[in-house]
Amino acid sequence: MIIPQTRNIGLPMMNLMRFKGLPILQQLQIEEQLLRTSSENWCIINDGTNDPTIVMGVSGKPAELLEIESVLRDQVPVIRRFTGGGTVIVDNGTIFVTFICNKEAVPDLQPYPRPIMSWSSTLYSKVFQGIGDFNLRENDYVFGNHKFGGNAQSITKNKWIHHTSFLWDFDVRNMAYLKLPKRAPAYRSARGHLDFICRLKDYMPRSIFIDKTVEAAGTQFSLRSLKSEAIETCSKTEFCPSTRFLTNEELEAAAVAGQ
Protein backbone atom coordinates (compact mmCIF):
# COMPACT_ATOMS: atom_id res chain seq x y z
CA MET A 1 0.00 0.00 0.00
CA ILE A 2 1.31 3.43 -0.89
CA ILE A 3 0.91 5.87 2.01
CA PRO A 4 -0.34 9.10 0.48
CA GLN A 5 1.87 12.05 1.13
CA THR A 6 -0.23 14.60 -0.69
CA ARG A 7 -2.72 17.11 0.55
CA ASN A 8 -5.73 18.18 -1.45
CA ILE A 9 -3.51 20.44 -3.57
CA GLY A 10 -1.82 17.32 -4.96
CA LEU A 11 1.78 18.16 -4.08
CA PRO A 12 3.95 15.80 -2.07
CA MET A 13 4.30 16.80 1.55
CA MET A 14 7.60 18.17 2.79
CA ASN A 15 8.54 19.00 6.36
CA LEU A 16 10.19 22.41 6.70
CA MET A 17 12.53 23.04 9.60
CA ARG A 18 14.21 26.37 10.12
CA PHE A 19 17.16 26.95 12.41
CA LYS A 20 19.31 29.96 13.18
CA GLY A 21 22.89 29.45 14.26
CA LEU A 22 22.57 25.68 14.72
CA PRO A 23 26.07 24.17 15.01
CA ILE A 24 26.96 22.69 11.62
CA LEU A 25 27.91 19.30 13.08
CA GLN A 26 24.46 18.99 14.59
CA GLN A 27 22.81 20.05 11.34
CA LEU A 28 24.74 17.49 9.31
CA GLN A 29 24.10 14.68 11.79
CA ILE A 30 20.36 15.47 11.78
CA GLU A 31 20.41 15.40 7.97
CA GLU A 32 22.28 12.09 7.86
CA GLN A 33 19.83 10.54 10.29
CA LEU A 34 16.81 11.79 8.34
CA LEU A 35 18.27 10.49 5.08
CA ARG A 36 18.86 7.05 6.57
CA THR A 37 15.85 6.61 8.84
CA SER A 38 12.97 8.89 7.83
CA SER A 39 10.48 8.05 5.10
CA GLU A 40 9.36 11.68 4.74
CA ASN A 41 10.58 14.59 2.65
CA TRP A 42 12.45 17.40 4.38
CA CYS A 43 13.65 20.94 3.79
CA ILE A 44 16.11 22.23 6.35
CA ILE A 45 17.25 25.83 6.45
CA ASN A 46 19.98 26.91 8.88
CA ASP A 47 20.56 30.64 8.89
CA GLY A 48 24.23 30.75 9.84
CA THR A 49 26.24 28.54 12.11
CA ASN A 50 27.83 29.70 15.32
CA ASP A 51 31.56 28.96 15.07
CA PRO A 52 33.80 29.02 11.98
CA THR A 53 34.19 25.37 11.00
CA ILE A 54 35.86 23.57 8.11
CA VAL A 55 33.67 20.93 6.48
CA MET A 56 35.23 18.35 4.13
CA GLY A 57 33.44 15.89 1.87
CA VAL A 58 33.46 12.16 2.52
CA SER A 59 36.70 11.53 0.63
CA GLY A 60 38.52 14.70 1.58
CA LYS A 61 42.21 14.38 2.43
CA PRO A 62 43.24 16.99 5.00
CA ALA A 63 46.83 17.40 3.82
CA GLU A 64 45.66 18.11 0.27
CA LEU A 65 42.87 20.47 1.21
CA LEU A 66 43.89 22.27 4.40
CA GLU A 67 46.71 24.38 5.73
CA ILE A 68 46.90 21.95 8.66
CA GLU A 69 49.51 23.89 10.65
CA SER A 70 47.29 26.99 10.72
CA VAL A 71 44.18 24.95 11.41
CA LEU A 72 45.82 23.28 14.42
CA ARG A 73 47.41 26.48 15.63
CA ASP A 74 44.07 28.31 15.60
CA GLN A 75 42.07 25.25 16.72
CA VAL A 76 39.61 25.52 13.83
CA PRO A 77 37.23 22.54 14.03
CA VAL A 78 37.28 20.18 11.02
CA ILE A 79 34.32 17.96 10.12
CA ARG A 80 34.15 15.10 7.62
CA ARG A 81 30.56 14.99 6.36
CA PHE A 82 28.63 12.09 4.83
CA THR A 83 28.06 13.66 1.40
CA GLY A 84 30.48 14.00 -1.50
CA GLY A 85 31.98 17.19 -2.82
CA GLY A 86 34.57 19.68 -1.73
CA THR A 87 35.76 21.60 1.30
CA VAL A 88 34.23 24.74 2.72
CA ILE A 89 34.76 26.93 5.76
CA VAL A 90 31.44 28.00 7.20
CA ASP A 91 30.40 30.54 9.80
CA ASN A 92 27.53 32.85 10.71
CA GLY A 93 27.66 34.32 7.20
CA THR A 94 26.78 30.97 5.63
CA ILE A 95 23.18 30.04 4.90
CA PHE A 96 22.45 26.32 4.55
CA VAL A 97 19.54 24.90 2.55
CA THR A 98 18.94 21.16 2.36
CA PHE A 99 16.42 18.99 0.53
CA ILE A 100 15.95 15.36 1.54
CA CYS A 101 13.54 13.60 -0.81
CA ASN A 102 12.07 10.21 -1.52
CA LYS A 103 12.80 9.07 -5.06
CA GLU A 104 9.17 9.55 -6.05
CA ALA A 105 8.91 13.06 -4.59
CA VAL A 106 9.99 14.86 -7.76
CA PRO A 107 8.12 13.45 -10.79
CA ASP A 108 10.30 12.21 -13.66
CA LEU A 109 13.53 12.87 -11.78
CA GLN A 110 16.18 10.13 -12.12
CA PRO A 111 17.98 9.71 -8.78
CA TYR A 112 21.46 10.39 -10.07
CA PRO A 113 23.80 13.32 -9.33
CA ARG A 114 23.39 15.34 -12.50
CA PRO A 115 19.58 15.23 -12.77
CA ILE A 116 19.25 16.13 -9.09
CA MET A 117 21.73 18.99 -9.54
CA SER A 118 19.80 20.19 -12.57
CA TRP A 119 16.50 20.03 -10.66
CA SER A 120 17.99 22.13 -7.87
CA SER A 121 19.13 24.78 -10.33
CA THR A 122 15.61 25.15 -11.72
CA LEU A 123 14.33 25.71 -8.19
CA TYR A 124 16.93 28.35 -7.43
CA SER A 125 16.39 29.95 -10.83
CA LYS A 126 13.02 31.02 -9.43
CA VAL A 127 14.72 32.47 -6.34
CA PHE A 128 17.24 34.47 -8.36
CA GLN A 129 15.02 35.42 -11.27
CA GLY A 130 16.15 38.79 -12.58
CA ILE A 131 19.01 38.96 -10.09
CA GLY A 132 22.60 38.73 -11.18
CA ASP A 133 23.53 36.26 -13.87
CA PHE A 134 22.54 33.15 -11.91
CA ASN A 135 23.52 29.77 -13.27
CA LEU A 136 24.52 26.28 -12.29
CA ARG A 137 28.06 25.96 -13.55
CA GLU A 138 29.88 22.62 -13.16
CA ASN A 139 27.90 21.85 -10.00
CA ASP A 140 28.34 25.30 -8.40
CA TYR A 141 25.82 28.11 -8.11
CA VAL A 142 27.34 31.22 -9.66
CA PHE A 143 26.63 34.78 -10.58
CA GLY A 144 28.52 35.10 -13.83
CA ASN A 145 31.67 33.10 -13.15
CA HIS A 146 31.80 33.76 -9.40
CA LYS A 147 30.70 31.00 -7.06
CA PHE A 148 28.40 31.80 -4.18
CA GLY A 149 26.92 28.38 -3.45
CA GLY A 150 28.48 24.94 -3.14
CA ASN A 151 26.51 21.71 -3.47
CA ALA A 152 26.84 18.16 -2.25
CA GLN A 153 24.64 15.07 -2.37
CA SER A 154 24.16 11.59 -1.08
CA ILE A 155 21.96 9.05 -2.86
CA THR A 156 20.62 5.91 -1.22
CA LYS A 157 18.38 3.16 -2.58
CA ASN A 158 15.15 5.08 -1.96
CA LYS A 159 16.12 8.66 -1.11
CA TRP A 160 18.51 11.45 -1.90
CA ILE A 161 19.81 14.56 -0.21
CA HIS A 162 20.98 17.72 -1.90
CA HIS A 163 22.45 20.35 0.37
CA THR A 164 23.95 23.72 -0.33
CA SER A 165 26.09 26.17 1.58
CA PHE A 166 25.44 29.72 0.40
CA LEU A 167 28.08 32.39 0.93
CA TRP A 168 25.87 35.20 2.06
CA ASP A 169 29.01 36.71 3.56
CA PHE A 170 32.44 35.43 4.50
CA ASP A 171 35.58 36.45 6.33
CA VAL A 172 38.52 36.63 3.93
CA ARG A 173 40.89 35.58 6.70
CA ASN A 174 39.13 32.19 6.92
CA MET A 175 39.93 31.38 3.31
CA ALA A 176 43.58 31.18 4.28
CA TYR A 177 42.91 27.84 6.02
CA LEU A 178 41.98 26.21 2.69
CA LYS A 179 44.42 25.17 -0.01
CA LEU A 180 43.57 25.43 -3.67
CA PRO A 181 41.96 22.05 -4.39
CA LYS A 182 43.60 19.69 -6.88
CA ARG A 183 40.19 18.82 -8.25
CA ALA A 184 38.61 22.10 -9.30
CA PRO A 185 36.03 23.02 -11.93
CA ALA A 186 37.45 24.15 -15.24
CA TYR A 187 35.71 27.52 -15.03
CA ARG A 188 37.69 28.32 -11.90
CA SER A 189 40.72 28.78 -14.20
CA ALA A 190 43.18 28.50 -11.32
CA ARG A 191 41.78 31.62 -9.62
CA GLY A 192 42.51 32.09 -5.94
CA HIS A 193 39.66 31.89 -3.42
CA LEU A 194 38.94 35.62 -3.34
CA ASP A 195 38.86 35.95 -7.13
CA PHE A 196 36.66 32.88 -7.46
CA ILE A 197 33.87 33.44 -4.93
CA CYS A 198 31.40 36.26 -4.33
CA ARG A 199 28.98 37.28 -1.59
CA LEU A 200 25.26 36.68 -1.94
CA LYS A 201 24.65 39.73 0.25
CA ASP A 202 25.75 41.92 -2.65
CA TYR A 203 22.75 40.63 -4.60
CA MET A 204 19.91 40.01 -2.16
CA PRO A 205 18.95 40.71 1.48
CA ARG A 206 19.31 37.70 3.76
CA SER A 207 15.70 37.34 4.80
CA ILE A 208 14.47 37.82 1.23
CA PHE A 209 16.70 34.96 0.04
CA ILE A 210 15.34 32.62 2.69
CA ASP A 211 11.74 33.66 2.06
CA LYS A 212 12.10 33.23 -1.70
CA THR A 213 13.68 29.81 -1.23
CA VAL A 214 10.76 28.68 0.91
CA GLU A 215 8.38 30.12 -1.69
CA ALA A 216 10.14 28.27 -4.52
CA ALA A 217 10.03 25.01 -2.56
CA GLY A 218 6.34 25.62 -1.99
CA THR A 219 5.69 25.49 -5.74
CA GLN A 220 6.74 21.83 -5.78
CA PHE A 221 5.92 20.61 -2.30
CA SER A 222 3.21 21.09 0.26
CA LEU A 223 5.29 22.52 3.08
CA ARG A 224 4.56 21.74 6.69
CA SER A 225 6.57 23.81 9.17
CA LEU A 226 7.88 21.84 12.10
CA LYS A 227 9.46 23.18 15.25
CA SER A 228 13.00 21.97 15.85
CA GLU A 229 11.83 19.90 18.83
CA ALA A 230 9.82 17.78 16.38
CA ILE A 231 13.04 16.26 15.10
CA GLU A 232 13.25 14.24 18.34
CA THR A 233 9.94 12.49 17.76
CA CYS A 234 10.22 12.09 14.00
CA SER A 235 13.19 9.80 14.13
CA LYS A 236 12.74 7.04 16.67
CA THR A 237 15.44 4.62 15.51
CA GLU A 238 18.91 4.50 17.01
CA PHE A 239 21.33 5.77 14.46
CA CYS A 240 25.06 6.43 14.57
CA PRO A 241 26.03 9.13 12.03
CA SER A 242 29.32 8.94 10.18
CA THR A 243 29.64 12.75 10.13
CA ARG A 244 32.12 13.71 12.83
CA PHE A 245 34.91 16.00 13.91
CA LEU A 246 38.44 14.97 12.97
CA THR A 247 40.68 14.84 16.02
CA ASN A 248 43.89 16.82 16.43
CA GLU A 249 45.73 13.50 16.34
CA GLU A 250 44.17 12.64 12.99
CA LEU A 251 45.07 16.03 11.54
CA GLU A 252 48.63 15.80 12.83
CA ALA A 253 49.01 12.30 11.43
CA ALA A 254 47.64 13.48 8.09
CA ALA A 255 50.14 16.32 8.00
CA VAL A 256 53.02 13.93 8.66
CA ALA A 257 51.82 11.39 6.10
CA GLY A 258 51.00 14.07 3.53
CA GLN A 259 47.44 12.75 3.15
Partner: protein, 165 residues
Protein backbone atom coordinates in the same frame (compact mmCIF):
# COMPACT_ATOMS: atom_id res chain seq x y z
CA UNK B 1 15.32 15.18 -19.23
CA UNK B 2 16.08 12.19 -21.50
CA UNK B 3 17.89 14.47 -23.97
CA UNK B 4 19.93 15.97 -21.16
CA UNK B 5 20.92 12.47 -19.99
CA UNK B 6 21.68 11.36 -23.55
CA UNK B 7 23.86 14.38 -24.16
CA UNK B 8 25.68 14.04 -20.88
CA UNK B 9 26.28 10.33 -21.40
CA UNK B 10 27.61 11.00 -24.88
CA UNK B 11 29.90 13.65 -23.48
CA UNK B 12 31.02 11.22 -20.81
CA UNK B 13 31.64 8.47 -23.37
CA UNK B 14 33.66 10.84 -25.49
CA UNK B 15 35.35 12.24 -22.35
CA UNK B 16 34.14 15.72 -23.15
CA UNK B 17 33.43 17.95 -20.17
CA UNK B 18 30.65 20.43 -20.47
CA UNK B 19 29.15 23.08 -18.20
CA UNK B 20 25.77 22.13 -16.81
CA UNK B 21 22.87 24.17 -18.07
CA UNK B 22 19.48 24.66 -16.47
CA UNK B 23 17.05 22.02 -17.64
CA UNK B 24 15.37 22.74 -21.01
CA UNK B 25 11.85 21.60 -21.79
CA UNK B 26 11.75 18.95 -24.55
CA UNK B 27 9.31 18.38 -27.41
CA UNK B 28 10.42 14.72 -27.77
CA UNK B 29 12.62 12.11 -26.06
CA UNK B 30 15.39 9.76 -27.15
CA UNK B 31 15.69 6.14 -26.00
CA UNK B 32 19.09 5.36 -24.53
CA UNK B 33 21.21 2.77 -26.32
CA UNK B 34 24.75 3.43 -25.11
CA UNK B 35 24.97 1.11 -22.09
CA UNK B 36 26.59 -2.28 -22.39
CA UNK B 37 24.77 -5.23 -20.85
CA UNK B 38 26.63 -8.55 -20.75
CA UNK B 39 25.07 -11.95 -21.18
CA UNK B 40 25.78 -14.47 -18.48
CA UNK B 41 25.49 -11.98 -15.63
CA UNK B 42 22.53 -11.32 -13.36
CA UNK B 43 21.32 -7.83 -12.59
CA UNK B 44 19.61 -6.02 -9.73
CA UNK B 45 17.08 -3.21 -10.24
CA UNK B 46 19.50 -0.95 -8.37
CA UNK B 47 22.00 -1.47 -11.23
CA UNK B 48 24.52 -3.86 -9.75
CA UNK B 49 25.66 -7.01 -11.58
CA UNK B 50 26.72 -10.37 -10.23
CA UNK B 51 28.75 -13.12 -11.94
CA UNK B 52 28.43 -16.49 -10.25
CA UNK B 53 31.33 -18.85 -10.89
CA UNK B 54 31.51 -21.95 -8.72
CA UNK B 55 31.50 -21.00 -5.06
CA UNK B 56 32.26 -17.31 -5.62
CA UNK B 57 30.16 -14.47 -6.98
CA UNK B 58 31.74 -11.25 -8.26
CA UNK B 59 29.80 -8.00 -7.88
CA UNK B 60 30.07 -4.57 -9.46
CA UNK B 61 27.93 -1.79 -10.91
CA UNK B 62 26.67 -1.79 -14.46
CA UNK B 63 27.69 0.33 -17.43
CA UNK B 64 24.30 2.07 -17.16
CA UNK B 65 25.03 2.99 -13.55
CA UNK B 66 28.57 4.26 -14.12
CA UNK B 67 27.40 6.33 -17.05
CA UNK B 68 24.64 7.98 -15.04
CA UNK B 69 26.88 8.52 -12.02
CA UNK B 70 29.68 10.27 -13.88
CA UNK B 71 33.39 10.12 -13.14
CA UNK B 72 33.96 8.05 -10.01
CA UNK B 73 36.58 9.67 -7.78
CA UNK B 74 36.33 7.60 -4.59
CA UNK B 75 35.11 4.14 -3.61
CA UNK B 76 34.22 2.88 -0.15
CA UNK B 77 34.21 -0.93 0.17
CA UNK B 78 33.83 -3.37 3.06
CA UNK B 79 36.61 -5.45 4.53
CA UNK B 80 37.03 -9.12 3.62
CA UNK B 81 35.33 -11.31 6.19
CA UNK B 82 32.33 -9.03 6.48
CA UNK B 83 28.87 -10.00 5.32
CA UNK B 84 26.50 -8.53 2.76
CA UNK B 85 22.72 -8.89 2.51
CA UNK B 86 20.60 -8.89 -0.61
CA UNK B 87 19.28 -5.40 -1.31
CA UNK B 88 21.30 -3.74 1.45
CA UNK B 89 24.15 -1.28 1.01
CA UNK B 90 27.72 -2.55 1.26
CA UNK B 91 29.65 0.46 0.10
CA UNK B 92 29.50 3.71 -1.81
CA UNK B 93 31.03 5.56 -4.71
CA UNK B 94 31.61 9.29 -4.99
CA UNK B 95 31.03 11.08 -8.27
CA UNK B 96 30.03 14.62 -9.23
CA UNK B 97 29.86 15.76 -5.58
CA UNK B 98 27.57 12.86 -4.62
CA UNK B 99 28.03 9.69 -2.63
CA UNK B 100 25.85 6.88 -3.99
CA UNK B 101 25.16 3.68 -2.09
CA UNK B 102 26.05 0.38 -3.72
CA UNK B 103 23.64 -2.41 -2.82
CA UNK B 104 24.45 -6.11 -2.86
CA UNK B 105 22.41 -8.25 -5.28
CA UNK B 106 22.94 -11.31 -3.07
CA UNK B 107 23.73 -12.27 0.52
CA UNK B 108 26.98 -13.81 1.61
CA UNK B 109 30.48 -13.42 3.04
CA UNK B 110 32.92 -11.00 1.46
CA UNK B 111 36.01 -13.02 0.49
CA UNK B 112 37.88 -10.48 -1.61
CA UNK B 113 37.79 -6.74 -2.28
CA UNK B 114 39.20 -4.99 -5.34
CA UNK B 115 42.01 -3.00 -3.75
CA UNK B 116 42.93 -1.41 -7.11
CA UNK B 117 39.86 0.80 -6.78
CA UNK B 118 41.49 2.76 -3.95
CA UNK B 119 44.13 4.24 -6.23
CA UNK B 120 42.17 3.94 -9.48
CA UNK B 121 38.45 4.48 -8.82
CA UNK B 122 38.02 5.38 -12.49
CA UNK B 123 38.29 1.68 -13.36
CA UNK B 124 34.61 1.55 -12.52
CA UNK B 125 33.91 3.92 -15.41
CA UNK B 126 36.44 2.43 -17.85
CA UNK B 127 35.75 -1.24 -17.19
CA UNK B 128 32.63 -1.71 -15.06
CA UNK B 129 32.33 -5.46 -15.73
CA UNK B 130 35.98 -6.43 -15.57
CA UNK B 131 38.70 -4.35 -13.95
CA UNK B 132 36.06 -2.31 -12.09
CA UNK B 133 34.69 -5.27 -10.10
CA UNK B 134 34.12 -4.37 -6.47
CA UNK B 135 33.77 -7.40 -4.20
CA UNK B 136 33.78 -11.17 -4.38
CA UNK B 137 31.26 -12.96 -2.19
CA UNK B 138 30.65 -16.53 -1.08
CA UNK B 139 26.87 -16.70 -1.55
CA UNK B 140 24.89 -17.83 1.50
CA UNK B 141 21.63 -18.30 -0.46
CA UNK B 142 22.38 -19.20 -4.10
CA UNK B 143 18.63 -19.23 -4.83
CA UNK B 144 18.68 -15.44 -4.51
CA UNK B 145 20.24 -15.33 -7.97
CA UNK B 146 16.96 -16.54 -9.43
CA UNK B 147 15.23 -13.36 -8.28
CA UNK B 148 17.62 -11.20 -10.32
CA UNK B 149 17.20 -10.09 -13.94
CA UNK B 150 18.92 -11.64 -16.93
CA UNK B 151 20.58 -9.51 -19.59
CA UNK B 152 17.50 -9.06 -21.80
CA UNK B 153 15.27 -8.23 -18.88
CA UNK B 154 17.80 -5.74 -17.50
CA UNK B 155 18.26 -4.08 -20.89
CA UNK B 156 14.51 -3.55 -21.11
CA UNK B 157 14.45 -2.33 -17.50
CA UNK B 158 17.07 0.35 -18.30
CA UNK B 159 15.28 1.46 -21.44
CA UNK B 160 11.98 1.78 -19.60
CA UNK B 161 13.60 3.61 -16.71
CA UNK B 162 15.27 6.15 -18.99
CA UNK B 163 12.18 6.57 -21.15
CA UNK B 164 9.99 7.32 -18.15
CA UNK B 165 12.19 10.21 -16.99
Amino acid sequence: MALTLWASSTANALKISCASKPHLSLAFSFSRCFSTVLDGLKYANSHEWVKHEGSVATIGITDHAQDHLGEVVFVELPEPGGSVSQGKGFGAVESVKATSDINSPISGEVVEVNSKLTEAPGLINKSPYEEGWMIKVKPSSPSELESLMGSKEYTKFCEEEDASH
